[in-house]
């Protein structure tokens, strides 16, 4: 990874490197997420490209020092545009034996390992099944190990504060952050400012954390144990103003922006669920932007209230994860029948049932596609990265409002919590989503009546006539409606026609054609993914091409309806590979729709694909070595 070497001001060697992957790992209570977040902010402020992968247990505080209690945060930062949080860390910070044990296998030989030695007690070692202390035997010989008594050093640094030993030790994560900040030439002011703001109400805690942070920094600077420091130059991203953003934050901003662009009040009806709750938390802060949030008694009430708000002329939104979608299904079916706009944000997690609440998976595709009674088509859009959640939300709302339909947006745990730089859009260039409510009677027979199911000839959308509009009083509901007048109809031909009309409306939604990236122009293998696997697939393609092979990449953003040219694209390649974090749900759709022999590569491990493994799969595909 290193390219240039120089000598820095402290007489230490400074290596210029293009990219680094750091993983902070510790106990759930050690503050690893905060530490990682903070380092990420510094990398962002410095202008690096970056991608992050938080990985934490579902338990808030699993028993201390155990393997299930390990929480980690991986950060990949670079001086060029990167696509993933990195397969394996270059640097692993292990705050206790459990963190070491759970993460060491991912550290390549030669990697840097920074260990908090204070936690390597007999008891803690025994807790995770270490028979001998790895710091004392030869098991860590393949790595560059730095043993640092972080708790002791932090305690020492905080002695003047008069804090208890136990309280003082809690700041050891800031010691680790200080040390890493020194190693990578990051500034200290940003973090100190952050700590002062975070602990504004408890200035003594702010000062304690700053002391620990500085102690870590100074430890690097003054001790001889770290011979090398590293510099990663700012990345040359496209011109613009950037900020760091997680997928859930981008989703929430997308919803706020959609409300503004549609000139509609936003109503979020929802129920807390991991990993979607942050969307509720964020939107709750933006009442000033016309957002009302309603924490309902359950998932069903959340979407019911959102649908009621849509009926009343608001932009109704509900946010959830897979188990919540299961509960909302009947109401989604009602929204299909009512033909009202509704945005359903599904931040997917590991399933079935409660599954892996804090881990990622893409296994709700078929649930979103088909998980309702009757023929109940719903458009589906899937963002490909954290920042992309913003654009996807706007596009989802466009579909919902234009076609008067519920729309699924399928995010997932990895992009919901992961972050990357986001080029802040010019708000004047955001799409106009304004809608027109019906105000006039429309019956074609000139009777002066209002027909709620008389469709627009182009979009097949029905009029949106909101209560309070004189002369348009009408009743809608889940019973089948007569095509046009919208009265209850049990007529067999009418039902057949309505089923086909609802399908035709969704099939006719305008979505952009699929674009294929094939820099060599001669690829015979196409890799087609959807959603959050964009990063690892893209990184894998780079590796394959760097090895001199050709591979074409395309990524499905619109899963329903699919791009019009998808069939032609698929048929123009000798081989199609579809990697998914499920058991082949997209592949099944591709095979069924296009009779294309798509090769499904699947992994359902609760973690994103690694670029290395996908590169292997693609290389095999290009060389014709894939199993049939």
């Amino acid at each position: 990874m290193s390219t240039d070497t120089a000598v820095g001001p402290s007489g230490r060697e400074v290596r210029q490197t293009h990219r680094v992957v750091i993983r902070f790992a510790g106990d759930s209570g050690d503050g690893m997420q905060l530490t990682g977040d903070r380092f990420t902010s510094e990398a962002a402020a410095f202008g690096n490209d970056l991608a992050t992968l938080p990985n934490f247990p579902a338990e808030i505080r699993a028993p201390a020092g155990t393997l299930p209690g390990v929480s980690s945060f991986q950060l990949h930062f670079a001086d060029y545009d990167i696509l993933t949080p990195g397969d394996r860390p270059d640097v692993l910070v292990a705050m206790n034996p459990a963190a070491l044990k759970a993460n060491l296998a991912d550290l390549p030989h030669g990697g840097v390992l920074i260990v908090n030695t204070d936690e390597f007690t007999k008891r803690n070692l025994a807790k995770v099944g270490y028979e001998s202390n790895p710091l004392e035997d030869d098991s860590l010989d393949p790595y560059t190990v730095h043993q640092v008594a972080m708790a002791t050093l932090t305690r020492g640094a905080l002695e003047p504060t008069g804090m208890s030993k136990k309280d003082a030790e809690r700041a050891k994560n800031m010691f680790a952050l200080g040390l890493l900040s020194w190693m990578y030439h990051r500034g200290t002011e940003g973090t100190e400012q952050f700590l002062r703001e975070k602990f504004a109400k408890k200035p003594e805690l702010a000062e304690a954390n700053i002391l620990a942070f500085r102690a870590g920094w100074n430890y690097g600077e003054t001790t001889e144990s770290f011979a090398v420091t590293y510099e990663v130059a700012p990345a040359r991203l496209a011109e613009g103003t950037y900020r760091q953003i997680t997928g859930n934050l981008a989703l929430a901003y997308g919803v706020v922006a959609a409300g503004q662009q549609a000139k509609l009040p936003v109503f979020l009806g929802t129920y807390p669920i991991t990993p979607a709750s942050d969307v509720l938390h964020e939107l709750s802060k933006h009442k000033g932007m016309g957002v009302t949030t309603f924490q309902a008694e359950d998932e069903i009430a959340g979407i019911g209230a959102a649908l009621g708000a849509s009926f009343g002329g608001s932009l109704g939104v509900t946010s959830t994860s897979g188990p919540g979608v299961a509960l909302k299904s009947e109401t989604i079916g009602l929204a299909v029948a009512l033909e009202l706009p509704l945005l359903i944000l599904d931040v997917q997690r590991g399933g079935p049932s409660t599954g892996l609440p804090t881990k990622t998976e893409q296994a709700d595709l078929l649930q979103a596609m088909y998980g309702r009674n009757g023929e109940a088509p719903v458009p589906i859009i899937a963002p490909q990265s954290p920042a992309d959640c913003f654009d996807a939300a706007l596009d989802a709302v466009r579909m919902a409002l234009t076609y008067r339909t519920p729309v699924f947006l399928l995010s997932d745990g990895s992009i919901a919590n992961g972050s990357e730089p986001w080029r802040i859009p010019d708000v004047d260039a955001l799409p106009d989503l304004s809608v027109t409510f019906a105000t006039e009677a429309n019956a074609p027979d000139g009777s002066g009546e209002f027909w709620p199911y008389l469709r627009d000839a182009d979009t097949l959308a029905r009029p949106w006539a909101i209560p309070g509009t004189a002369g348009l009083e009408h009743r809608i509901g889940g019973l089948e409606k007569a095509d046009g007048p919208g009265t209850i109809s049990y007529d067999p031909d009418n039902h057949d026609r309505m089923v086909r009309l609802r399908q035709a409306k969704i099939d006719g939604i305008e979505v952009p054609d699929l674009t294929v990236h094939d820099p060599d122009g001669d690829a015979e293998v196409l890799v087609l993914g959807w959603g959050s696997s964009y990063g690892p697939i893209g990184a894998a393609c780079r590796r394959v091409r760097a090895a001199g092979l050709s591979v074409a990449q395309a990524h499905l953003r619109h899963l329903n309806p699919m791009p019009r040219n998808l069939g032609d694209v698929l048929r123009s390649y000798r081989r199609v590979v579809a990697p998914e974090m499920n058991l082949g749900q997209l592949s099944m759709l591709l095979r069924a729709r296009f009779l294309v022999d798509a090769h499904s590569y699947t992994k359902v491990a609760g973690l994103p694909f690694q670029a290395e493994e996908l590169a292997g799969v693609l290389t095999d595909a290009v060389k014709g070595d894939l199993p049939a």
């Binding site: 962002a44 402020a45 202008g47 940003g190 700012p234 040359r236 991203l237 011109e239 103003t241 950037y242 900020r243 706020v256 009040p265 109503f267 802060k285 933006h286 009442k287 000033g288 932007m289 016309g290 957002v291 009302t292 309603f294 309902a296 008694e297 359950d298 069903i300 009430a301 959340g302 019911g304 209230a305 009621g308 708000a309 849509s310 009926f311 009343g312 002329g313 608001s314 109704g316 009947e330 109401t331 079916g333 009602l334 009512l338 802040i424 859009p425 708000v427 209560p467 309070g468 509009t469 004189a470 348009l472 009083e473 009408h474 009743r475 809608i476 509901g477 889940g478 009265t487 209850i488």
Partner: protein, 364 residues
């Protein structure tokens, strides 16, 4: 944002709903849909009462919305020429909640039944009452599942023999008034479908109440539970069974007012002959009493065998509504946002940004 003090309702339930000077009649609220309940169904009587009551409110027709769930009574909205939604089983209060929060200019009504509201939708009912949503809930209680052809319901008496309980049901029923009071309801009333005067009076007060109003309507299902409330309609002892609450008045009943409701030794309420206990011993009804204890005791006066059945308004108290509170927070936040000059651009930018300059200038 700091917590906003919730406003105590200063207005009535309909004060934010636009009114009309136009003379309205029951016919104006009648849609062109043919009513398809079974002959003799109590729903007809309720529909007629509601149609003839609505003009009294003087509201613009387009600002009234009826939302229903699933069941016989849930067809109700189709027969009224207002806005309406026939939603899904048990979920009408959720739809009504979204409407009530976002549209203070609407009069929102929920029409539901004993199965819809108390079985599949029990959770939504109690939470709508707890939050004190500004909606009026008409709970048609016929103590049976009609639309699915005659299974017992959560208000059926123990031992009910139905298609699904050929040996009699074994589970204890809900008392909807007790349940509503337990769920912190601010308005609870009860009426009999055939008693147009009594029903209209309860509806009048329910509509005027700001907050969630629950009106239980005893209603006959002539097909699957025929005559279930007949003891309250005909026979010699109707006057000894039916107790009509009058706010501020002693609770007396019987042909000559010879019976009264008095405190029992156990701290609850019981029925006594006035001649035996004296008029002063008869409790006076106060619907606006904050403490729900007496209202609750009234709801438990007799078992569901209808020995003593109370109609009228059990409880009517003021408490902040969720929808007013939620709107007040949004309004306050908007005011603060405007004062600060907040806008979408500033939101998206946040605090920590960095600039990437065009390529040539970016070279170091």
């Amino acid at each position: 944002m700091t917590a906003t003090d919730l406003p105590t309702p200063a207005v009535g339930g309909l004060d934010l709903v636009p009114t009309t000077d136009e003379q309205q009649k029951a016919k104006d609220f009648t849609s062109d849909q043919e009513v398809r309940w079974c002959p003799g169904c109590g729903d007809y009587a309720v529909l007629a009462s509601v149609r003839s009551f609505l003009p009294e409110l003087g509201l613009r027709r387009e600002n009234i919305v009826f939302v229903s769930g699933i069941g016989c009574s849930s067809r109700f909205p189709y027969y009224l020429d207002t806005y309406g939604m026939h939603s899904i089983h048990g979920r009408a209060p959720t739809i009504a909640t979204g409407l009530a929060v976002t549209r203070p200019d609407l009069s929102v009504w929920v029409v539901t039944g004993d199965g819809d509201a108390l079985s599949i939708g029990g959770n939504h009912l109690i939470h709508a009452l707890r939050r004190n949503m500004n909606i009026t809930i008409l709970l048609f209680n016929n103590r049976i599942y009609g639309l699915t052809k005659g299974q017992y319901s959560p208000t059926s008496e123990v031992g009910k023999v139905t298609k699904s309980t050929p040996m009699g049901s074994v589970d204890a029923p809900f008392n909807p008034v007790s349940l509503a009071l337990g769920a912190e309801a601010t308005f609870v009333g009860r009426a009999l479908d055939s008693d147009r005067k009594g029903l209209t009076e309860v509806l009048r007060q329910a509509a005027a109440h700001r907050g969630a109003s629950l009106v239980e309507i005893f209603q006959d299902c002539p097909i699957f539970n025929d005559g279930s409330f007949d003891v309250l309609r005909k026979g010699d002892d109707v006057a000894e069974r039916l107790i009509k609450l009058v706010d501020g008045e002693p609770i007396l009943f019987g042909n000559e007012g010879e019976y009264g409701v008095v405190r029992s030794a156990s701290g609850g309420l019981e029925v006594a002959r006035v001649a035996d206990v004296g008029e002063d011993a008869v409790v006076v009804h106060h619907a606006d009493e904050q403490d729900p204890t007496q209202s609750f005791a009234l709801s438990r006066l007799s078992d569901q065998d209808l020995t003593h059945t109370i109609t009228g308004v059990f409880r009517k108290v003021d408490r902040p509504t969720y929808d007013d509170g939620a709107r007040a927070q949004v309004a306050a936040a908007k005011e603060q946002a405007e004062a600060r000059g907040d806008n979408l651009d500033a939101l998206l930018r946040g605090k920590d940004t960095w600039a990437v300059l065009p390529e040539p200038e970016n070279e170091q």
